[in-house]
Amino acid sequence: MSLTAADVAEIMRLVESSSFDELSLELNGLKLHLRRAGAQIDAVPTPSQAPPVPQPAPTAALAKPDPADPALHEVTAPLLGTFYRAPKPGAPPFVERGATVEPDTVIAIIEVMKLMNSVRAGVHGTVVDILPGDGALVEYGETILRVAKSG
C-alpha cells in the first residue's frame, strides 16, 4: 500500500480537525510524521496515542536468530505488548543502529494496556539491528535488538 499526495492531504485535514497535535504513521516501510505548527510537546510520554499499525493475523514467525556469531547478543522482549522505539510519537528513538549501549540503557518501551515498561539493553555493545516496527505487537521472548558485544 502506498500513499498519494491526496491521501496525505486528507490525513492532514483529519489531524487538523482532531484534538491531536501530532501523528506518526508507519505503513510497510513508509513513515509519515505530522506535527501541528506551534504544538506544545507533552511532558508525559504518550506512545499509546500512536495509531495502531494494521497487521494481518497470520504474520511471519518470530525473527530468526542469526546463526553463529557468538559476539552478537539478542535482546528479547521481557513481556508481550506494543513496541515503541521512542518515548513518544515524534521524539527521537531511544537508540539507532550503530549506537553504543550500556546494560542500563533504555532501548524501547513495551506498552501493556496503557502501562509503559522500559526495556534495557542488558549488555555493553553496539546496536546492529532493531527488529520490530514502531507500534508492532511483540511477543514474550521475541528478539527486538541485536547488539555486537564489546569488552
Partner: protein
C-alpha cells in the same frame, strides 16, 4: 456483531476443542501460549499463536492485561477463556467490556454474583431454589446459635473458597467454635476474605449439575443434567448424562430450579448450576453456579447434538436466540472418563513428561477430546488432564460397554496415567448399578488393597 477472529486464552484440550468449532464456523483463531506450550497441538492448529509469557500461569495465562493486549494487538473480536485460568475472573470480563472486545461468557457482574457464595445463595433463595440449610456467621456465638438449628454434622466453609478448599467438618457442637476461628483465619490467609458460613453436611449426597444457556435478556433453557458424583478429593473423574436412577419429578425439579436461578440473574452464555442431591431425603440443594464452559460438557453435546462452544460464540456475538426448550431432546446416554497424567499406584501423583507413543480409541459412539499426540509434552506447570474419552449409546449399558472397550484399547507411553483406575471404576458393581454418592471413590479405594496400601505410603 459477526465474530471473525477469536483469541483463545487457554491451553490443552479445551484450546483444541475451541479451535475445532471455530474452524467449522469459519472463524480465525489466535492462541495464547506460554513458552512451555509453543509446540503444543493447539499451537499447531491455531491460525496464529502468540507467546504471552513464561510457563508459570501467574506470568502468562493468568495475566489479564497481557491477554487483553494480545487480543487487541492481533485484532481479535472476542476472547474465549475456556475453563480454569481467567474464565471466571470478573476483571477479564470487565477489561473486555472497557476495550470493546467481546468476552465469550457472562457479564463481569454475573461472574461476581455467582463467584461470591453468599450472593449466589441469596440469588438462589430469591429464585425459590432450595439451598442447604445454613448461613453466614460473623462470630463464634452466632455460629453456635445457627449450628443448633442446622444440626450436626455440618461444614464450615470459606466464602471465597472452592473445590473443597477452606472447608471444615464439625461432628460435635463443642468443636464448632474452634473450627470457625481456624477456618476464618485460614480463609483470610488463603483467599484474602475471612468470611465463613455454616452448612448442613449431607451424609450421602450426589453431585448433579444442570447445563444452561442464557441469552442475557432473561431467557434461559436447560440441556439436561450431568451426574459428577465419581470424584476423588473433589476432583471429578467420571461424568455421565442422564443421572442414573433419579425419579422423574426430581429430575424435572432440578432442571426447573437451574433455569429459575439463571433467569433470576439474566444469565448470559453457557453455565452450569450445581446441586447436591440428598439420597436419603430425595431432596436437592443449590451448591453453586459455574460461569464457564465445563470440562465435562461433551456428554451433554453427545446426547443433545448441540455444539455448546458454537452456542457460546453465537450468544456473545449477540445472535438472535436460535434454540428454544422445545429444540432440546436428549437421546441415549453418554459417559466420560478424564484421562490424567497421574499415577494411581503412587497416590495419584502427577506424572509430567514427554508422551512417546499414544493410541486414542475409535469406534461407534466414541469421542476423544485431547491435545496429546506422539511427542507431546505434558508440562509440570498445569493440570494433568490428557484427554476426555467419551462414549455415547442408546442406553447406559451400551455406552458403558463402549467406554470399557475404548479405555482398554487406549495406550499412552511415556507418562503414567489413571487408565487402570478407570478400568477399575467402570468394572465396579456400584458403578454398574449407578446413582452412587460422592463417597464412591473412597469406598472403591478401600476395596482395592494394593492401591490403598501404596496410598498410605505416598
Amino acid at each position: 456483531m459477526a465474530i471473525r477472529r477469536i483469541f483463545i486464552a487457554n491451553r490443552g484440550e479445551i484450546a483444541v476443542r475451541i479451535i475445532r468449532t471455530c474452524r467449522a464456523l469459519g472463524i480465525e483463531t489466535v492462541l495464547a501460549a506460554s513458552t512451555a506450550d509453543r509446540d503444543s497441538l493447539p499451537a499447531q492448529l491455531a491460525d496464529r499463536t502468540v507467546c504471552i509469557g513464561p510457563p508459570r500461569p501467574s506470568e502468562s495465562y493468568l495475566r489479564v492485561e497481557t491477554v487483553v493486549a494480545a487480543a487487541l494487538g492481533t485484532h481479535c473480536d472476542a476472547i474465549h477463556p475456556g475453563y480454569g485460568f481467567l474464565s471466571e475472573r470478573a476483571a477479564l470480563a470487565k477489561m473486555c467490556e472497557e476495550n470493546n472486545v467481546l468476552f465469550i461468557g457472562p457479564t463481569a457482574a454475573q461472574i461476581e454474583t455467582v463467584g461470591d457464595k453468599l450472593c449466589a445463595r441469596e440469588a438462589a433463595r430469591t429464585a425459590q431454589v432450595p439451598v442447604v440449610p445454613g448461613g453466614a456467621v460473623s462470630s463464634p456465638r452466632e455460629a453456635v446459635e445457627l449450628a443448633q438449628s442446622i444440626g450436626v454434622p455440618l461444614l464450615v466453609k470459606a466464602v471465597g473458597g472452592g473445590g473443597g478448599r477452606g472447608m471444615k467438618r464439625v461432628d460435635r457442637l463443642r468443636d464448632l467454635e474452634a473450627a470457625v476461628e481456624l477456618a476464618s483465619a485460614e480463609a483470610g490467609a488463603a483467599f484474602g476474605d475471612p468470611r465463613v458460613y455454616l452448612e448442613r453436611f449431607v451424609a450421602s449426597g450426589r453431585h448433579v449439575e444442570v447445563q444452561v444457556l442464557g441469552d442475557g435478556q432473561g431467557s434461559v433453557i436447560h440441556l439436561g443434567e450431568r451426574d459428577c458424583s465419581t470424584q476423588r478429593r473433589y476432583q471429578k473423574l467420571v461424568e455421565e448424562t442422564p443421572a442414573p436412577g433419579l425419579s422423574e419429578p426430581l429430575r424435572r425439579a432440578l432442571h426447573e430450579a437451574a433455569v429459575r436461578f439463571a433467569e433470576r440473574i439474566s444469565y448470559r452464555g453457557a453455565g452450569t448450576v450445581e446441586f447436591l442431591v440428598d439420597r436419603e431425603r430425595d431432596a436437592f440443594y443449590f451448591l453453586e453456579m459455574n460461569a464457564r464452559i465445563q470440562v465435562e460438557h461433551p456428554v451433554t453435546e453427545l446426547v443433545t447434538d448441540i455444539d455448546l462452544i458454537a452456542e457460546q460464540i453465537a450468544i456473545a456475538g449477540g445472535a438472535q436466540p436460535g434454540l428454544t426448550q422445545a429444540d432440546i431432546h436428549g437421546h441415549g446416554c453418554a459417559i466420560e472418563c478424564r484421562v490424567n497424567a497421574e499415577d494411581p499406584a503412587n497416590g495419584f501423583r502427577p506424572s509430567p513428561g514427554r508422551v512417546r507413543e499414544v493410541t486414542w480409541p475409535e469406534g461407534e459412539g466414541i469421542r476423544v477430546d485431547t491435545h496429546i499426540a506422539p511427542g507431546s509434552q505434558v508440562p509440570p506447570f498445569y493440570d494433568s488432564l490428557l484427554a476426555k474419552i467419551v462414549a455415547h449409546g442408546p442406553d447406559r449399558p451400551t455406552a458403558l460397554g463402549r467406554l470399557k472397550k475404548a479405555i482398554s484399547s487406549t495406550r499412552v507411553v511415556g507418562v503414567a496415567t489413571n487408565l487402570s483406575f478407570h478400568t477399575a471404576v467402570l468394572a465396579d458393581d456400584e458403578f454398574l448399578q449407578g446413582g452412587m454418592d460422592t463417597g464412591f471413590i473412597t469406598r472403591l479405594l478401600e476395596r482395592m488393597p494394593v492401591m490403598t496400601g501404596r496410598l498410605s505410603n505416598g
